[in-house]
Symmetry: C2
């Protein structure tokens, strides 16, 4: 048991460490100058040695004793506790920053549930009000029952329709192939594939009066694995909480674009961004079986069938003797403006205090947050302690370090987005990088890194200097261990690095403000989990650089790949491409220019006078602003707060990042567009915007003046 | 005659010089360092001595021989000539940068005119097709006849309605007080008070089929002054050309937000930004008399009467025996995508090549452009020559200097806006200031400066070091001469400085990108012009600073004044203010914070180590980004490219700048709003946005990290 614990703690240390160390380079400079010497390198090792896996384990234990739902007393208490410790650790300043944002809670005195009604309107089945409390947590109060935050209130009644995952294509299929109209119905969708908020949006568009979300064992139980607590599969009465907003990066629904402070104008609640107009409620599969059994209507295609022992018929409504039964949702969840608290800690940069490296992760959890988010919180905490220890000894980072413990991530990334809004002007001029620490672990298989292309090289360099945490690989580097398990593709022989998508607090920093960003975690095996003895963990990172470790050549390669990908998608319509004069030549050309500019920039780095502080600053400014150059102030169509032209959260794929999202969205479902002329026109327009943006980014890298 | 010439040339030298010198400080540094010494100060004097009033006169003469309409061969030739000379002058690089933008020309073979038709549909009066060519220019071809660029084509016929200046309030008065409906009518408005594009917009909103614009002598002739060529009053057959777009800063109507390059997607012409849907045509007052005489309908209030010897009756249509007459417009002007050329010259900064000071002005003219723009072009040219001369001698500016000769300003600030769009990402990170040089002279009375508040102090400091150009004031400073003629207000004993409004090429730089900007010119006397002997001109500027000469304390004072102004406007509705809970306390508080931050910033400047290049750079970055902090990426309501929260061109006042435009527009006409709740809600929302923006700007000035 103890071995197991260390087994999962070790990767945490490595992962969170990964990016940060890259930006801690140039760390140990004296306040008055930019000198560096070999003595400093050994200080860097002091820092690495300071980090203790056992501390991380203890923090994780301590921070997961009680629920920490955003907006509760308990979570404010935790904020204060973290702030106090950061101060004690030796950070230069620590503050609680509050916002008054729209949150959503079930009513304790009037619980949410779903009923089957018989022909007389009597409730003949009701879903569970709570989940069974896990062993060891029996005495804990304040566990919020499963609910979908921001659900509309209401008691809609109606026939049930099963809509598979509730994706656009599912509703298309329902309407066109099966001839089923969801208007006035209550729909039931299984969780998975896309963000739940998009399921709700699709249900509303289809005219549904309410939507029930359930976790099907096909999606939430691995074969051959036991349910919790013996294994990590979801128990039948476990249900997935989660917000059902369609915020698209707006932050607090009532104050889109601006921080939710005392003075801030708030929209009326019925005009808030992304609030669903219908009731939504999540249930476990034990309850889902009751609702789905005896449904009538067509039998679904195989891809619509989950793993429950039922026929998954579509409806509407029930069959045979049950045909008079309908379903009623009883939802009393209510929205309320509530104060939330970020903890912001700073260590002032000694040489360039106006350049910020930000390490942030959320603190709020739906309940205990054992993985999400506290596996990240614990790592951030230990890094703060270690850095603080060095600061106490008189060392200073070159650039300012910002530590952030965000609140209300679970309610739509609210704490991080409000802080980004409040500090946008400063951040876009000063922020070098944002590193996100949410769940540091989502499995025990190997490393998973999502980051902007200019960080690829840094990630590879660092992982080559860290030992593998895997048993039997003590002499292998993390890079090799990772590479062995997850090679990128046929064309690139290196470990896979993914695009940043959505679903955590980097969003406002990366997608809205254009700050280079990344995250790392240990991820799960696609095969079943193996339990075995713990590995030994060592890490060494020895370089020292004044130059920001951002690689623009790598960005060029990524842009090239993305362009070929998107061109290939367009080429699925060869006739239209030629009829509507759609060409990717301009974009390919811009990417070529970008790549040349990046290579030339890289070349010039060799000629840099690294002892000339202004020269270094200018080159670093170019690197820092490269990511910013991909921001279009006009935003993506209909998503004004998603402004990164190269990356955006996918509408079509849960948590994934889309490259060239403007073009991609214009191409998606183009064959269903009501007017082909306009649809292809939009594709051309988006290609033109992408071309301009890549071209403008190339200009950032060109020789100054 | 020669005396007169020098009389008006002298102020030109001083004016254009004014801002630029402020930014040329720190100019003579060696490439490898930041040292400065007293020898450099004398080099600065060399520069001042290099400028020759006679050169300016010669350039003005040379550049005004022929018409230089945007998009013509002639104007391209001038671009090449200027580029060649800049190269010869010694600029480091000079390039022609082209864009393909929507321009608009009359058809040579099918001229525009307006007719009065009798009851049989015969033309019984037609307006002039051209203006009489001035003496000395008889042989010149390619003089474009008077027209309104971007007018819709068409031959609408209808009754005429006189709409005074065509302002919102004029149309209100017509409809509500006089009971006159403009729907289906042709309206005739006099030029003046508001931008002509807004008159057209108002006419369209009122349902008019066409609009005729005329120059009334009440607005375009000073009493007691002769018409050209004996005096400067407008002759009766002279007509004002001008575009009638409602661009609101969008640049090329077909590519809003993006540069009009080969690869750029273009909207269909009927979807272009700000293109009027009805014909528009300008006429002189000789023609206007014919159209207005014999009109029927109500007699107008006195404020609607111009200086023509007619009754200015409103219509619709003519009275008595003329009542069957109607008016027909015959407009064939057509829009076409046309290539335009900016000339961009650069002198690379020796120490901070990535910090740009931009001096720009347009080159295109409706015809000869004697004042607009060539009085500015000539000054820019002489500055380029003088600076180039010093560069040839081996001197270098500290920061990069950019010289720009913009094209197609007259068609909607197109050249400057497209370049701003193409370079937006770089400019917002690197541009220190934008100085505009359009008409350098619009009268002979005294100085007129429009600039951002952080430049106030610089303007005062410099004018205190330049001699007055006024006769009999040889021992007086320009500051004193100016102060004597135009004291600010009772509360401030200093020469008046105005807000930047619209109407020239600074717009995209200041209002969209938030770059500190200013312009200066000699302005006219409100009394009649005096012709007298010429003054002697001297200028001396001797300070040397590494610190950007931007004054944030002055910005604080300006914000305070603007807040009190806007609060006073709101207080005209005391009942509503209290009913709808409208308060300016949050804004006043933010302004107070801003002022404290500015004062503290200013204080800290005393403690700066001016020999620490990084420290200087960081402080300068704060100053540079202060103006940027006032930019809201979401823009003003309905005007996405006007993004400066403190300043925007006024909708209500020709070329003027509005402070707190969001709040102002929400308050304007609030009593006519259909729903008072929503209208006051919008006021509250705008106050909140202003509060946030001022607060965020304060943060930019706060201690780093």
């Amino acid at each position: 048991m103890r071995a197991d614990r260390r087994r999962w703690v070790a990767p945490l240390v490595g992962m969170a460490f990964l990016f940060l160390t890259g930006f801690l380079v140039g760390w140990f400079a004296r306040p008055s100058g930019v000198q560096h010497d070999h003595a400093n390198d050994s200080k860097l090792l002091d820092f690495l040695n300071e980090i203790q896996a056992d501390n991380i384990r203890q923090y994780l234990r301590k921070f997961t004793q009680l629920p920490h739902l955003a907006g509760t007393e308990q979570n404010l208490k935790l904020a204060k506790e973290i702030a106090n410790e950061w101060e004690k650790f030796g950070l230069d300043s620590v503050e609680l920053v509050s916002y008054d944002v729209l949150l959503s809670y079930p009513k304790p005195e009037q619980p949410n549930y779903i009923s089957i009604l018989n022909q007389f309107g009597n409730e003949i089945f009701n879903t569970s009000l709570t989940e069974p409390v896990p062993e060891g947590y029996e005495g804990v109060s304040d566990i919020v029952p499963p609910y979908n935050a921001f659900s509309a209130k209401g008691q809609p009644e109606g026939e049930l329709v099963y809509v598979n995952y509730g994706r656009t294509e599912d509703f298309f299929q329902l309407e066109r192939d099966m001839g089923i109209n969801c208007s006035g119905k209550i729909v039931i969708a299984r969780y998975g594939k896309i963000f739940r908020g998009n399921k709700v949006k699709n249900a509303i568009l289809a005219g549904a009066k309410g939507i029930i979300l359930f976790s099907d064992p096909a999606d939430y139980c691995a074969p051959g694995v036991d349910v919790y607590p013996s294994g990590w599969n979801l128990p039948g009465r476990g249900a997935q909480r989660g917000n059902v907003l369609n915020l698209n990066g707006a932050g607090d629904p009532l104050t889109p674009g601006y921080p939710a402070k005392e003075y801030t104008y708030r929209a009326e609640q019925d005009e808030g961004v992304g609030l669903p107009k219908i009731p939504v409620h999540p249930i476990g599969y034990s309850d889902a079986v009751h609702l789905l059994t005896n449904m009538g209507g067509p039998h679904p295609p195989d891809s619509w069938k989950g793993a429950l022992n039922i026929s998954y018929q579509i409806g509407p409504g029930y069959k045979g003797e049950f045909s008079k039964q309908i379903v009623r949702m009883n939802i009393y969840t209510s929205n309320q403006v509530t104060r939330i608290y970020n903890v912001i800690g700073r260590i002032r940069g000694a040489v360039e205090p106006d350049r910020y490296v930000i390490l942030g992760g959320h603190r709020d959890a739906w309940v205990f947050g054992g993985i999400d988010p506290t596996s990240g919180v614990a790592v951030v905490h230990e890094i703060a302690r270690s850095v603080g220890t060095l600061v106490k000894k008189g060392w200073k980072p070159r650039r300012t370090l910002v530590f952030a413990s965000w609140d209300a991530e679970e309610f739509g990334l609210l704490g991080s987005t409000e802080w980004a809004e409040e500090n946008a002007k400063i951040l876009q001029e000063r922020a070098v990088a944002y590193i996100n620490a949410d769940s540091s672990i989502e499995g025990m298989y190997t490393l998973r890194v999502d980051c902007t292309p200019s960080l690829h090289t840094l990630v590879y360099d660092i992982t080559k200097k860290i030992s593998s945490p895997e048993p039997g690989e003590e002499t292998m580097t993390l890079y090799d261990s990772w590479h062995k398990r997850d090679n990128w593709t046929n064309e690139r022989n290196a470990p896979r690095i993914s695009k940043l998508g959505s679903g955590s607090d980097f969003e406002a920093y990366f997608i809205r403000l254009g700050i280079a960003a990344g995250r790392a975690r240990y991820t799960k095996n696609t095969k079943t989990e193996r339990y075995s003895s713990y590995p030994v963990y060592h890490s060494v990172y020895e370089t020292f650089e004044l130059l920001l470790p951002l690689d623009c050549v790598e960005y060029g390669a990524a842009l090239h790949k993305y362009t070929l990908n998107i061109e290939a998608i367009a080429n699925r319509h060869p006739d239209a491409i030629s009829r509507y004069n759609v060409s990717f030549d301009s974009l390919l050309n811009a990417v070529k220019n970008f790549t040349s500019a990046a290579q030339a920039f890289h070349q010039r780095l060799n000629e840099l006078d690294r002892y000339n502080p202004l020269e270094m600053r200018m080159v670093n400014d170019q690197l820092m602003h490269l990511e910013r150059a991909f921001i279009d102030p006009l935003g993506l169509p209909g998503r004004p707060f998603y402004r990164h032209i190269i990356f955006a959260p996918s509408i079509h794929n849960k948590y994934a990042g889309e490259s060239f999202p403007g073009i991609y969205d214009a191409l998606f479902d183009i064959e269903n567009a009501p007017e082909q002329d306009k649809a292809w026109d939009e594709v051309r327009r988006q290609i033109s915007i992408a071309t301009f943006t890549v071209q403008a980014a190339a200009m950032v890298l060109m020789p100054l003046a």
